[in-house]
Symmetry: C2
Subunit: 306 residues, 2 copies
C-alpha cells in the first residue's frame, strides 16, 4: 500500500469535531483558532538512513534542515513560524559533540527564521531521529485546495537541484566543481521561502511546498482543488543543465520529479501575478483533472517514504 | 553523561527571547501566550524496545498509552489537552493492521480525554516510533518550581504499580492471578489524572507527573523550587504488597523508584489540603535541599533513557 493510502486509512480513524479546528489532516499544516488567532501546526521528522546519512552530513546542516523543512510548511500556508518543540531519539553511543553541532544548526536556523525552540524530549533509539513540531500563525490560511480556474501557476525557484545535490553527496565524488558544490548546498542547506511569505498570504489562492517533487506536489493541488493543471513551460536551472551534461542525465526528469526542493508552488489570479515577477511562471489552472505538460498528461509520482 | 546533563547542555544552546514564551525548557510543558490565552506544549515519544516491545504490547494499548503520557504532562501543568499531531516512523514491513490498532487506541484515548488529533507525519525507520506533540490550555500554569515552605505534599495515587506490571509483562508469567492482571493494566493502560485537573489548576502550588519514579520526580520539584522535601509516610499499594510477597521483592523500592505511573505529585498550602481528601498525603515542604524519608536522605535516582 502506498504511503498516501496508508495515511488516508489511518487518519480516517480519527474524526475531528472540535469547531476550533479550522484545518485538520491533508494540508501542509493543521490550523486552529485560539482566541481569534489562526495558529498553524506542522511536524516533520529526520530519520537516519532515510533522510540523511550520518557520515555524509555535517551535523550543523542537519539541524538547519530540520528547522527549514518545517518552516517551509508554515510558509506554504501563508504563515510565519513561532514556536517549536524538538524530540530526539539517539543511540546511547552517540558523541555529544555531534548533538551539539546539530543544535548549533538548529540555533542558526531559529535565529534566521525568527522562531523559538521552547521544549522537547530526549530518548534513545538505534537510529538517530530528530522530530520537530513547529507552530506558526497566519492572518489567512492558504490551502492546497483553493486553486481557481484561470489562476496562473508559479514556482518560487528552480526544482530538481536538491536531488542532483543528493546524488553528488551519495556518490562521494572527489574534486567537486563549483557548480557541484552549489548543487550540494541545495540539498544540505535548503532555505524555506520566508522571504515571500507576506505576498503568499496576501495574494496566493493556493500554495504547497515542493518536498515530494514538482509534479507530485502540483498533483496535491490538482486533486484537492479538483482542477486541471496545465504546465506551459518548465524552467530548467542552468546548474542542473551542467550536472545533466556531465553525468548524462535527463534534466527534465530531475526538474519534474526531484524532491526536497522546499520551493513553493502556488497559484494566483491574473491580476495578482504582477506581485510575483521574481518567481517563475509555469502554467495555469483549468477546469478538469490531472496534470498536463502542454497536451501531454504527466504521470504523478514522487518520493515514497513508506 | 546522564540524560539530564545532556539535555541541559543542548538546550542551553537555544536561548529564548520571545516575550510570548512564558515557560520554556525544564517543566512538564512549555507555555506560550496567544492573544491572552495560555497554551501548553508537550511531546513524548514511544520507541520500540525502549518504551514497549512489539510482541508484548497490544497495539491498542500502545495508542492509548501514547496519548495518556502526553495528557499527563498537560494535566501536571494544570491544563486540559486540546490538539495533537502524531509523527510515526515504522519499518516498511509493518502490518497495516498493527497500525490500525494503534490508531484505534489513539482514538479511544482522544475521545476519553476530549482532545483532537489534527495532523502528523509518516516516515519509515528500522524500529517503530510514535511521537506525539500535544497542546493544551490552562488559566494558570502550575510549575515544578513553586513549592512553598509549609506546603503539604500529595500524590494522586499509589506508585510502583507500573514497574511491577512491566516485570510481569517481560517475564511472560503464565496463569496470571487477578492482582497480577490488575498490575499489568497499570503498565499498559495508564490513565492520566484528568479527573483532578481543575483542582490542580485552582489549588496546587506546584505539580509534576510521576514518570521517572516518585523520588526522581519529587527531586525535580525540590531542585526547581529550591526547597527540602520531607516524606513522612510512603503508602504502599496492597496490590504491590501481594506482588512483593509472591516474588520476594522490596515493595518500598518499587514505590519510591518505579517509573511510568503517571500519577501526579503536587504540593498545596495547609488551607487547600481539604480539596484533596481522595489523594494520599505523603509529606511536607521545608526550607533547604534534598529529599528525606523522615530523617533519612533519599538517593535521587530514576529511569535514564539515554
Amino acid at each position: 500500500m502506498a504511503e498516501f493510502e496508508i495515511i488516508k486509512k489511518l487518519t480516517s480513524i480519527l474524526s475531528i469535531s472540535d469547531k476550533d479546528v479550522l484545518i485538520g489532516f491533508g494540508d501542509d499544516c493543521a490550523c486552529v483558532n485560539v482566541n481569534g488567532k489562526k495558529l498553524l501546526f506542522t511536524a516533520d521528522i529526520q530519520v537516519e538512513n532515510r533522510h540523511f546519512v550520518r557520515n555524509k552530513i555535517n551535523p550543523i546542516d542537519l539541524g538547519w534542515k530540520l528547522v527549514s523543512v518545517n518552516v517551509s510548511d508554515i510558509v506554504a500556508c501563508g504563515g510565519i513560524p513561532r514556536w517549536g518543540l524538538i524530540s530526539i531519539a539517539v543511540p546511547k553511543s552517540i558523541e555529544i559533540s555531534f548533538l551539539e553541532e546539530v543544535y548549533n544548526g538548529i540555533n542558526e536556523a531559529k535565529n534566521f527564521y525568527k522562531l523559538e525552540i521552547i521544549g522537547g524530549n530526549t530518548s534513545s533509539a538505534d537510529e538517530i531521529i530528530f522530530d520537530l513540531f513547529l507552530t506558526g500563525e497566519t492572518e489567512k490560511f492558504i490551502s492546497r485546495s483553493n486553486a481557481e480556474e484561470g489562476d496562473l501557476i508559479f514556482i518560487s525557484g528552480y526544482t530538481g537541484l536538491s536531488r542532483a545535490g543528493l546524488e553528488i553527496l551519495l556518490q562521494d565524488i572527489k574534486n567537486l566543481e563549483d557548480f557541484e558544490k552549489e548543487l550540494l548546498k541545495y540539498h544540505t542547506r535548503p532555505v524555506a521561502r520566508i522571504d515571500i511569505q507576506e505576498r503568499i498570504q496576501k495574494y496566493a489562492n493556493s500554495c504547497i511546498d515542493i518536498s515530494d517533487g514538482l509534479v507530485a506536489d502540483l498533483g496535491h493541488i490538482s486533486q484537492m482543488s479538483n482542477k486541471k493543471i496545465v504546465l506551459e513551460n518548465i524552467p530548467i536551472s542552468p546548474l542542473l543543465e551542467k550536472f545533466a551534461k556531465k553525468y548524462s542525465k535527463d534534466p527534465l526528469e530531475y526538474t519534474l520529479y526531484g524532491g526536497e526542493d522546499y520551493q513553493l508552488a502556488f497559484t494566483v489570479s491574473k491580476e495578482n501575478a504582477k506581485y510575483f515577477k521574481d518567481c517563475l511562471k509555469i502554467g495555469h489552472i483549468e477546469e478538469g483533472k490531472g496534470i498536463y505538460l502542454q497536451d501531454v498528461p504527466l504521470k504523478i509520482k514522487g518520493f515514497e517514504h513508506l
